[in-house]
Symmetry: C2
């Protein structure tokens, strides 16, 4: 047989089962790397850093120079969209994100066109990375999903999302309109990323956990369907990875309704669930970042287990959540050796 001309990650997203799964890590460009910290030290403001295409391109490429990852993911943040829609967003040193007052829905609806233009620097980052990246490596773009991003917007920062859920109960029309605004701006932002060189698009629903079924349909499934429908209307053909984190019990329903090419699983995904999902679409996941940091024989055993349990279907090896800042680089190297043989 002739080798496929596509890079490994795209082959898996097209439904192929490879002898060894492609691999990348969530937050692979980040604080566990000294070279990242060095660049970050030159850019005190985090949001400005995300909009600095040269620096963002540099940190996007850093992990690919060190490790045999199969993909680069553009360095950016899920909270760039609220900023582009007119809400103030900033990061306090050592704390999570902070957001100013939620703009009116009318005001945000009027900013959707402009918001994509305000995020053009992320397109520039992608173009720079694509030009410098090995053609065998895949470039991933991403955005936060409407519920996750909207909950930050409503709460004003990190939280247990109880105010956002209460908002969904008490002001259902306003919430549904906020989801629509975010779905539309997210679709356009992702389309811009695809045009700039992103070959895969990932939708991060980082906070899908705990949602009752009616809210899961309203706040997760419906906006994801809208984003993908709009992407296809806009002519974008790139495969999409959906990541409804903390919602393994809804994973089959998610695949029934959302036309993603891959579902990313978090640390708590049962082996059998992944195997069932693989009969329909590619899966990605789900090594525990706490185990990656802890290391030792338990890490090697677990990586082996993941490769065995999911290696028989279309599978992208990844973490179940972002890599932790104090993860030893030697642990990353060991896992990548185990997965790739390199």
């Amino acid at each position: 047989m002739n080798p496929s001309p596509l890079p490994a990650l795209l082959r898996v997203l097209a439904g192929e089962t490879l002898e060894r799964p492609p691999v990348w890590f969530m937050r692979q460009a980040g604080r566990y790397l000294p070279e990242y910290r060095a660049v970050r030290a030159t850019a005190p403001d985090f949001i400005a850093f995300c909009h600095d295409s040269e620096k963002a391109a540099e940190v996007t490429l850093q992990p690919l120079r060190r490790f045999p990852f199969d993909a680069a993911i553009v360095f950016a943040d899920i909270l760039l969209i609220p900023g582009a829609l007119g809400q103030k967003v900033w990061f306090e040193a050592g704390e999570g994100p902070r957001l100013g007052e939620l703009p009116s829905l009318d005001s945000m609806a009027g900013e959707i066109d402009a918001s994509t233009a305000r995020l053009s620097a992320i397109g520039d980052t992608l173009s720079l990375v694509r030009a410098r990246l090995d053609p065998e490596k895949t470039l991933i773009g991403f955005a936060g999903a409407p519920w996750t991003v909207g909950s930050y917007m409503i709460e004003g920062g990190s939280s247990d999302r109880s105010r956002a859920r209460t908002f969904a109960y008490e002001q259902p029309e306003a919430m549904d309109r906020l989801m629509d605004i975010l779905a539309e701006s997210t679709a356009r932002y992702l389309a811009m990323q695809a045009e700039a060189g992103a070959q895969v698009l990932k939708i991060f629903e980082s906070w899908a956990e705990g949602l009752p079924e009616d809210l899961f349909h309203r706040l997760v499934i419906k906006p994801h369907v809208k984003i993908i429908t709009r992407l296809r209307e806009l002519g974008v053909t790139a495969p999409v990875i959906g990541f409804p984190r903390g919602a393994a019990a809804y994973a089959e329903t998610y695949l029934d309704q959302v036309d993603v090419d891959c579902i990313a699983l978090d640390t708590a995904a049962p082996a059998a669930l992944g195997q069932s999902l693989q009969k329909r679409k590619a899966i990605q996941g789900a090594l525990d970042p706490l185990l990656l940091r802890a290391g030792g024989p338990g890490l090697e055993r677990r990586v082996d287990e993941l490769l065995r349990q999911w290696g028989g279907g279309p599978y992208i090896f990844n973490l179940g959540h972002g890599i932790l800042p104090d993860t030893p680089i030697a642990h990353v190297e060991a896992v990548l050796r185990q997965v790739t043989g390199k």
Copy 2:
């Protein structure tokens, strides 16, 4: 047919489907009730309050005087066991629990016998409540599960449990021994509660979420199996409700391996999952406490939906998590009218 002599809750736990489900609420004795706040104001120390059988019995009975609940649940706390095993536990006003240094495993293992005796006040509470409670009403005893309680013990308070999970990875033997010690002391504590009048026992695994499958087996399933095995060895025949919160994707596996009479579901349980579980055992749950607090037509609609989706099998109506302190009493009344017709 003759009517069954058993109270409604016990009939459902024996597998019966009733025309209207029995109902109780997690934390139904609590701060949303002015009469609770009045008693609580006379007992500044929370742990001492739990050990004051007269006061604890009074607040246990309060919600039954106001509302047509089918069961009382003994007023106590899941962190009484660490205290009884020799770890300091206290509550700072307006904050969560705080715990002192973790005693050595040998020291705690030597305190198991004594720990049950140190919790005898909770038995006294149960005897007082049983003597005063309508015989039609069921009395529930409970304990926290080893992983949930152990994670507080390791972390020293509320947390995202990442230190406890890291402990499980880095010191597997110590973690497994801690689980064994907690399973044994929990089984004896629950046996004592049954002897004192508890007719149903509930195991609260409040923090099962996010656990990788190997840890879910090691830290949740194995200790729960051990508790129930020991309960039966100790001659306890009371039905058991297991509540692995945040782990809907493992619910079927949990029922495969843990011999509970009912699985309690949290807010994020899909309708179809509950229906599938009901073919095997009774289920309990899972109204969102945030929706109960919010009220309005959405609340009535959702209660209706829960009754329809799960009312066709053995079902106990409850919340998916504890009632919130600022929940309007009128909302509780409205839901209970809807469920019980009273």
